[in-house]
Symmetry: C2
Subunit: 607 residues, 2 copies
């Protein structure tokens, strides 16, 4: 439990190594610098804590976070099966605990506070989490961005790859719900424990007075929820039980009808949940605190109300502006398993989490088994290209080789030929048809444009000749002793919307794919999305929709672009990365996307 | 108080009109459909509420919002001078109440829940709020967007002008602090009431254990706060009183030092606040709940602590994960006037609000008096242009007139001449020098490009001749009976970064200026900022910095653009709008911005 180890400098690191050594590799060490561990499933407590017993698992990298989460949970009478502070993780790490808790049948939901994974441990988290979320929800707070993580995804698009965006991708792909703080962690955990998942994003809202429906709708829109249109049947029936002036299209407003007959609460909620358009219900601003003095017993107030989520298999969340302990009706509702929140924002956020988890499970089910990919399956030609470059002592491929490699995976690369002489260049161009592009091929030039090694839109023989001469002259100017392989000639593609697709290795998560739109979207707005390899079709679609520039692809300026072609490139890059472990970095920049099809204009592959 | 009036349909509207009529214009009406009003400064209560007496004013459009805010405030022992629900505002509106409460010396801060202003009332709010915030903070929740407001800023850039962005601009210009929900409203109000303003955005953070400093820093970055660098003097002194392994560069971490000697809390906080680099301090994760059993009395724990904000004139906010009522030391701190929050996010948000209000006051002070602008001062020529167009029965200016008008205000418009014949066109072009642009001039053509009425980059005599013929032929094809004034010839400007500046009249707020970058920034990302006229220099600078595309102007792709030139255009459009009440809408789209200077390429003025 003691501090003063690796977290506090060089001397501490030595001390920690000594602890590990003295354990002789046979005794496992938790910590040091930890609050300890608790396993109430086995009546074991080696910590400062005295938590309630319940069905939440809590895995943290930091003791203060535990104190806070445990305190908030206790206020809601939520208890734990296991609580773990992984501390300095000298030996046992947070993923070891995650693997262990996965098998505990008493744990119904897992909460985590993550500061960062050890090298390569991120990948293990991803795989574990993917398995676990099929049956148990995982909710995480992720803070801080380590220097290590930031360096890992550097290189030329590196500055964009703030590792936080990669964590986001991991959470998306594994169905993990990310929250902002400890209160939200417990709010969402409570909703996930007590309520059915939400199968779609259309919610109903039932209020008494307008302020809270407006506030709920503002938040709901932010979280991508939609107001469910109520069927005319539902509206007709609501009209029968409410006041004549009560609005009965969603949001439904009692407008005082509960003051006349309190039973209308259960009846109205029931009608709304019964409607097939409604995936879940928020009941807000009912003001039990103010008006219940006019009603009967709390049992009468809530008769049948708490049974509704089970009855319809849909979630229902209550907002109220006073604490439930102060009002018997509210207490009865909370005790009956309906989460009660003090502000609409928290209620809506929980509903959004239920949607997120619910739709994730639906998507995974619909997607079926992931595609089989084998490392041994790579095309012979691809293997030869990589081995050839390695044999020549090169750590990057010539663009002409990279293009061949991409072709081996059916990726849309324009034709290209290497011309060693001016005459060859002309011959190739004549065969291809004009206009063409000419690019220098040399192991010593990586940034071809800077070296004056690129000429585009060459419209005839003369232009090709001139370009060849200039390119080779520029290259020699750039670096006197340079070895030039020749000049690559390829057809000039018509300009279109530009995208960028990159692959890089993250120190914690391994190979990731980055996707973004060209130009200011990436350069100015850092508007990129990540996917962890292997990327499945739904992951690729998520990446496209995640960027702010998505409307450009959808066709806000002119026709829609070929989304399927982009998804296809991402999936093929994922496959290619798995089958060719030698590739450490890959950049398709730019790719032109047309209304039909796409063309990779420039490619760089680093081994 | 009763409902069933204008809010519930046609019949209710009639009933409301009858109420107004029966009051005969001499008795003022509050409501109907209101929770009532309370004025504890005068021991007056005409409402359902029994609020605590205190120094907050609360003005709401909605009763449920009041219930919620009042309840949360009471939990914090915060009371009110006045509480108002303006209800249907048949007569007295929320701005009347705002004007009234402004004069109440017992009200120290004003809280508002706004759903929307009546027509033209937004402008009154802006002017009142500007006055009030000089001495009393205003904190608002703004929800909902009315259909009326959305329609108002329509026309061709209309779809961008989601009125919410205009409200944001109003709040920015008036120093009003906008919050998201009722808890935040009370949190921020408490901080503003109890603490000194923050003069800059550099904060210190003092913790016991890492989790809460990481969480605080994540939130702080989101709100634009910066970690203050501590002077080496401060660090040295901290080193003397903390443990050897306690980190003493900001964030400062006790790392257990408080367990040994509790007085170190006050001493460390004092050293940090004393540092001139530190504008305010967050003390987080001290865990009074867990450890105070090892300490002496609560007085000993907090000796001198609560005096620090007053001593240094800087705010200090405490985060703790347990409720203050449960711990005597925490209770003493809260009672001593230090706001205590249960999560770091709320603590940081309050600090951000103190920064926002503090820096607003500093900016207003530095800016001095607003520039004097008189409606009568407009140039003679400008008046003639507008009167001429009106006399000719036109509701828009020819571009050539609009350009003249802009010139009258010293705005950077390229030269332009009207050519009535082909020969005149050539003569003008020859005089100007090539390349030139030719545009149709006709009262009946507003969208010139669509009508084939624009030809650019005309490089010689022949090109001008051809353009003149084509433009006039196209115009006649577009509309047979069309009256053509001629063709406007002006020099072709070199392309550069494009911006858009527009002026329109909002139904609630009157004349507003919109600013954005051209292309996808406005079209795809709706990335625009608004300013309420009159716009001052600091407002214009705020507008530029507010857009996500700001790095483009700052020079992330190539050289920085001429920011001063853009600010100058915005200020001149503000002046021009005030001096020419006849103009209802104005569009500069695009404006080319260079490294030095800017040029207005296209202008449209609607009367």
């Amino acid at each position: 439990m003691s501090g003063g180890f690796a977290e506090s400098g060089e001397e501490g690191k030595k001390l920690q190594a000594e602890v590990l050594k003295s354990a002789g590799g046979t005794v496992r060490i938790v910590g040091p610098n930890t609050l300890g561990i608790v396993n109430l499933s086995h009546n074991f407590n080696a910590s400062f804590l005295c938590p309630l017993k319940g069905c939440l698992g809590l895995l943290c990298q930091g003791g203060n976070a535990i104190n806070e989460v445990e305190y908030i949970a206790r206020k809601k009478e939520l208890g734990f099966t296991q609580i773990v502070d992984s501390g300095n993780q000298a030996d046992v790490g947070i993923c070891d605990f995650l693997e262990y808790i996965q098998a505990d049948p008493q744990t119904k939901a897992i909460l985590m506070y993550i500061e960062g994974f050890r090298e390569n441990e991120g990948r293990r988290f991803l795989n574990l989490a993917k398995q676990i979320t099929k049956t148990k929800p995982i909710v995480v707070i992720k803070v801080g961005a380590t220097e290590l993580g930031r360096r890992a995804v550097s290189s030329h698009t590196g500055s964009l790859a703030g590792e936080d965006a990669i964590y986001d991708a991991v959470f998306e792909q594994a169905g993990v719900i990310r929250v902002k703080n400890s209160s939200e962690l417990i709010d969402v955990a409570e909703a996930l424990l007590k309520l059915p998942r939400m199968k779609g994003n259309r919610f109903g809202i039932l209020v008494d007075g307008g302020s809270h429906s407006t506030m709920s709708c503002d938040t709901a829109a932010k979280y991508g929820l939609e107001l469910a249109p109520l069927s005319s049947e539902t509206q007709k029936k609501l009209k029968e039980i409410l006041f004549p002036h009560s609005p009965v299209s969603n949001p439904v407003d009692f407008a005082g009808a509960m003051d006349a007959d309190v039973r209308v609460l259960s009846n109205a909620a029931s009608l709304m949940l019964k409607d097939t358009n409604v995936d879940g219900l928020i009941v807000a601003g009912i003001n039990f605190g103010g008006y219940s003095r006019w009603w009967g017993s709390s049992e009468e107030v809530v008769a049948g109300f708490t049974e509704l989520p089970k009855k319809y298999g849909k979630p229902m969340i209550l907002h109220n502006s006073v604490l439930s302990e102060e009002n018997p009706a509210l207490k009865t509702i909370a005790d009956g398993g309906i989460p009660v929140f003090l502000d609409t924002e928290r209620a809506v956020r929980c509903m959004a989490a239920l949607v997120k988890y619910g739709t994730y499970l639906e998507t995974v089910k619909a997607a079926g088994k992931p595609r089989a990919i084998s490392k041994k399956a790579r095309p012979k030609k691809v293997e030869q290209i990589i081995k050839g470059a390695k044999a020549a002592g090169r750590s990057s491929l010539f663009e002409i080789e990279a293009r061949e490699l991409l072709k081996g995976y059916g990726l849309p690369v324009p034709k290209s030929m290497l011309a060693k002489t001016k005459d060859e260049a002309i011959e190739v161009a004549e065969k291809m048809g004009y206009p063409v592009v000419a690019k220098i091929v040399s192991a010593e030039i990586i940034h071809k444009t800077e070296a004056g090694g690129v000429k585009i839109d060459l419209k005839d023989k003369l232009a090709v000749e001139k370009a060849f001469n200039e390119i080779t002259a520029n290259a020699k100017k750039y670096n006197k002793g340079l070895k030039i392989e020749g000049v690559m000639i390829s057809p000039m593609m018509p300009a279109s919307t530009e995208i960028i697709i990159g692959m890089m290795h993250d120190a914690q998560f391994g190979p990731v794919i980055m996707f973004g739109l060209g130009g200011i979207f990436v350069e100015v707005l850092k508007d990129v999305a990540f996917g962890l390899i292997p990327v499945e079709t739904n992951d690729a679609c998520r990446m496209l929709r995640e960027i702010r520039g998505w409307p450009v692809l959808e066709g806000v300026r002119g026709e829609a672009k070929d989304i399927k072609a982009i998804v296809d490139i991402i999936l093929k890059i994922s496959k290619l990365t798995i089958e060719n472990g030698e590739i450490s970095e890959l950049d398709l920049n730019p790719v032109f996307v047309y209304e039909q099809g796409a063309k990779i204009i420039d490619v760089r592959i680093i081994l």
